[in-house]
C-alpha cells in the first residue's frame, strides 16, 4: 500500500515535470520572434498571403492553449512537422541520426564504468596513500575539465600526432566503420563521467571500509577477497544508481562532443538547428532528449528507494524527497 502510494507520487511528479517541459519546448517558437509565422517561414522572403497561409497551416490563428494542445497531440504521435532548413519531416531526420548518439552514449558509459569503478575501489581500499591522492586528483581534473577541450587535446595527440584514430566524421556510413570513429569521442565523453564514478564509488566503498563489520571480519581473520566482496555488495547499490543518474550529463555532453568531432548525431543536429533557428527540429530534439533524461532519472531514483530496504517508504514518513536534508547530507 505504502509502495503503491510512493510510486503514485513519483509518477505524478514525473507527469508534472514532463508537462512543464512540453510547455517550455512549445514556448521556444515564441522566443525568437514575436511573429512565429515569420520564424517558420525561415530566411526566405514571404508575402503577407504566404504568411497567412503558414499561420493557418500551423494553426497559429487559434488561441494559444489550442495551439499547444494541437502541437502536443502531434508530438505525442511523433509528428513534429517539417524542418525549416531541409524541408524534411523532423521525425525522419531524428530517426536517421539517433543511433549515432545512442551508440556514443552507451560506449561512453561503458568506458566510464570500466575505468572509474576499479579506480574508485583502489582509492577507497588504499585511502590515505599516494595512490588515493593520485586517483582523487585525477577525478577532480576529470570533473572540471570541459569535454571539448579534452576532446581537442585527445584529437591532437592521438589522431593528428600519433595517427591511431581517424580525425573527424563517421567514416563511410556503415556501423562497423562508425565504431572506431566513435571511440575517441566516447573516451572524451567518458572523461567527465568516470571522474564522477570514481568520486561516488570511492565515497560509498570508503563507508564500508571503515565500518564495524569490516573491522570485525578483519580481526576474525576473514580473507581479504571475501571482505572485499562483502564491501562491494554493500556499496554496489549507491554506485549503480549514481552512475545511472549520470544520464543527464551524458546526454547533454553528447551535444558538445558530437560537435567537437563533427559526428552527425542528434547533438550536432540540435546545435545546427539552434544556430539556424530551425524551431521544429529544436523542439523535437529538445523534447526527446529531455524526456529521456527525466524518465530514466525518475525510474532510477524510484528504484533506488524501493530496492534498498533501509530507504523503503514506511509509515509516518513522508516521501524521501520531502525529508529535510540533514546536516550530513548537505554542505
Amino acid at each position: 500500500m505504502k509502495v503503491a502510494k510512493f510510486i503514485g507520487r513519483r509518477l505524478l511528479n514525473l507527469v508534472i515535470l514532463l508537462f512543464v517541459l512540453s510547455l517550455v519546448t512549445f514556448g521556444l517558437l515564441y522566443l525568437t520572434n514575436s511573429d512565429p509565422a515569420r520564424t517558420l517561414a525561415g530566411a526566405k522572403k514571404v508575402s503577407a498571403a504566404q504568411l497567412a497561409e503558414i499561420r493557418h497551416q500551423y494553426h497559429l490563428d487559434e488561441p494559444l492553449w489550442k495551439q499547444y494542445a494541437i502541437w502536443l497531440g502531434n508530438a505525442i504521435h511523433g509528428d513534429f512537422g517539417t524542418s525549416i532548413r531541409t524541408q524534411l519531416p523532423v521525425a525522419q531526420m531524428i530517426g536517421q541520426r539517433a543511433w549515432v548518439t545512442l551508440t556514443l552514449a552507451l560506449m561512453a558509459i561503458a568506458i566510464a564504468l570500466l575505468i572509474g569503478l576499479p579506480l574508485g575501489v583502489v582509492a577507497a581500499k588504499r585511502h590515505g596513500t599516494w595512490r588515493d591522492g593520485l586517483i582523487t586528483a585525477l577525478a577532480v581534473v576529470g570533473v572540471s575539465a570541459p569535454s571539448f577541450s579534452v576532446g581537442l587535446l585527445l584529437l591532437y595527440v592521438f589522431a593528428v600526432k600519433l595517427g591511431w584514430f581517424p580525425v573527424y566524421g563517421l567514416g563511410d556510413g556503415s556501423f562497423a566503420d562508425a565504431v572506431p570513429h566513435l571511440l575517441l569521442p566516447a573516451i572524451t565523453l567518458a572523461v567527465g563521467l568516470f571522474a564522477a564514478v570514481i568520486k561516488v564509488s570511492r565515497a560509498s566503498l570508503l563507508e564500508q571500509v571503515e565500518s564495524d563489520y569490516t573491522l570485525f571480519a578483519q580481526s576474525r581473520g576473514v580473507s581479504r577477497g571475501t571482505i572485499t566482496r562483502w564491501q562491494l555488495r554493500n556499496a554496489a547499490l549507491p554506485i549503480m544508481t549514481s552512475s545511472g543518474l549520470l544520464i543527464a550529463s551524458l546526454i547533454s555532453g553528447t551535444v558538445v562532443v558530437e560537435t567537437t568531432f563533427s559526428l552527425g548525431g542528434l547533438g550536432t543536429l540540435l546545435q545546427e538547428s539552434v544556430t539556424f533557428k530551425d524551431i521544429p527540429v529544436v523542439q523535437a530534439v529538445t523534447l526527446l532528449l529531455a524526456t529521456v533524461i527525466c524518465v530514466t532519472t525518475a525510474i532510477i531514483d524510484a528504484l533506488y528507494t524501493l530496492v534498498d530496504p533501509r530507504l523503503r517508504p514506511s509509515g509516518g514518513h513522508r516521501g524521501s524527497a520531502d525529508a529535510p536534508a540533514s546536516k550530513e547530507g548537505e554542505a
Binding site: E210, V256, I279
Partner: protein, 318 residues
C-alpha cells in the same frame, strides 16, 4: 543518503552536494582544536599561513586564480590581442613575433589566450554571485517563513532541478541569441535553484539553535536576524558553493561559446578559440592546446579552492 542521490541528478556534477567522506568528519571530532584562541584574534599573516598549511595545491590554485583575475582586469591585452593579419593566416608556433603562432585570422595565439582570461572570469563570477544572491533571498525566505511559502518555493526548486540544465541553456541561450551577457543571465537563473536549496537546508539546520531563539526573544526584526545572525553561520557553505559554481559556470559558458552560441566571432574567448581551432589542428595545433589547457587549469583551480573551503566548512561545523 537518499538526499544525495536526489541532488546528483543534474548537469553540474560537482561534489558540492556529493557524498561526504566520513573520514574527515570523524577525524575532526577526535582531534582537538590546535589553538584555543579565537581565529579572528590572530594577526592576518598567521591566519593566512595557518589556513594554507599543508595544502600546496590550494596555494597554487589561489595563485592561478589571482593571476587570471589580474590579467583579466588589464584592458591593454584585449585591444592588442584582437589585431588581425588575414594575409598572414594561421602560422605554426615559433614563427617570428608569434611564440605560439597565429590563428586563421592571423591573431597571435598567446595574446588571444591571455585576453580570454577576462570572459573566463567575469561571466562565472557574475553567475555565481547572482545565483547565490537569488539563493540567499529565496532560501532564507523559505527556511524562515515556513508554511506555504516554503512549500511553494521548495516545489518550484524541485521542479527546476529536475530539468536538464545544460541542454536547456544551449537551446534557450542559442535561440535568444543575445550574446555573452544573455548567456550569463540564463545560467544565473538555471543555477539559482541549487543555491536556494543549499541555503534553505543550511539555514534550516540552525533555525532552532539557542542563539537564534535568543535573537527572536530580543524581538529583532527578521531581516536583521537573517542578515546578522543566520548568514554568518552559513557563510562557509555559501562561499564553497560559489567557487564550485564558478568552475561549473566557466565550463558551461565556454561550452556555449564553443558551440558558436552567444559570443561574437571576433571576441577573445577560450571556448570560441577552441571552436575555431577545430579547423586548425594541422596548421597550428597551439590554437587548440593553449586555450584548452587554460580552461582546464582555471576550472580545476576554482574546483580545488571550492573543495578546500567545503572541507574547512565541514570542520567548522563541529
Amino acid at each position: 543518503m537518499s538526499d544525495t542521490t536526489q541532488t546528483s541528478t543534474q548537469a553540474p556534477l560537482q561534489p558540492q552536494h556529493g557524498p561526504q567522506e566520513p573520514a574527515s568528519r570523524t577525524a575532526s571530532r577526535t582531534t582537538p582544536q590546535s589553538s584555543p584562541q579565537h581565529p579572528r584574534l590572530l594577526p592576518l599573516p598567521t591566519r593566512i599561513r595557518r589556513a594554507m598549511s599543508g595544502s600546496w595545491a590550494m596555494l597554487v590554485a589561489t595563485l592561478i586564480l589571482l593571476a587570471t583575475v589580474i590579467i583579466g582586469l588589464i584592458p591593454a591585452f584585449n585591444s592588442q590581442a584582437l589585431k588581425q593579419d588575414i594575409v598572414l593566416g594561421a602560422v605554426p608556433a615559433g614563427t617570428d613575433g608569434h611564440v605560439w603562432g597565429t590563428d586563421a585570422l592571423g591573431r597571435d595565439v598567446l595574446m588571444l589566450t591571455i585576453a580570454g582570461a577576462r570572459t573566463a572570469i567575469a561571466g562565472p563570477v557574475v553567475i555565481a554571485v547572482g545565483a547565490m544572491a537569488i539563493g540567499l533571498v529565496f532560501g532564507l525566505l523559505a527556511a524562515y517563513t515556513g508554511g506555504w511559502v516554503d512549500w511553494l518555493i521548495s516545489r518550484v526548486v524541485e521542479l527546476m532541478l529536475s530539468l536538464p540544465t545544460l541542454l536547456l541553456a544551449i537551446v534557450l541561450a542559442g535561440l535568444i541569441g543575445g550574446g555573452y551577457w544573455v548567456n550569463v543571465l540564463v545560467f544565473m537563473l538555471l543555477y539559482a535553484p541549487y543555491e536556494i536549496r543549499l541555503v534553505r537546508s543550511a539555514a534550516l539546520s540552525h533555525l532552532h539553535d539557542p542563539f537564534l531563539d535568543a535573537a527572536r526573544l530580543l524581538e529583532l526584526s527578521p531581516v536583521r536576524i537573517l542578515a546578522r545572525h543566520v548568514f554568518p553561520v552559513i557563510r562557509p557553505v555559501v562561499g564553497a558553493a560559489m567557487f564550485l559554481d564558478m568552475s561549473n559556470a566557466l565550463v558551461s559558458l565556454s561550452s556555449l561559446s564553443f558551440l558558436g552560441l552567444g559570443i561574437s566571432p571576433q571576441a577573445a574567448d577560450w571556448g570560441r578559440q577552441l571552436s575555431d581551432a577545430r579547423d586548425q589542428l594541422f596548421n597550428n595545433p597551439m590554437t587548440a592546446i593553449a586555450p584548452g589547457i587554460a580552461i582546464i587549469v582555471v576550472s580545476v583551480a576554482m574546483n580545488i579552492v571550492g573543495d578546500w573551503i567545503t572541507a574547512r566548512a565541514d570542520r567548522g561545523e563541529r
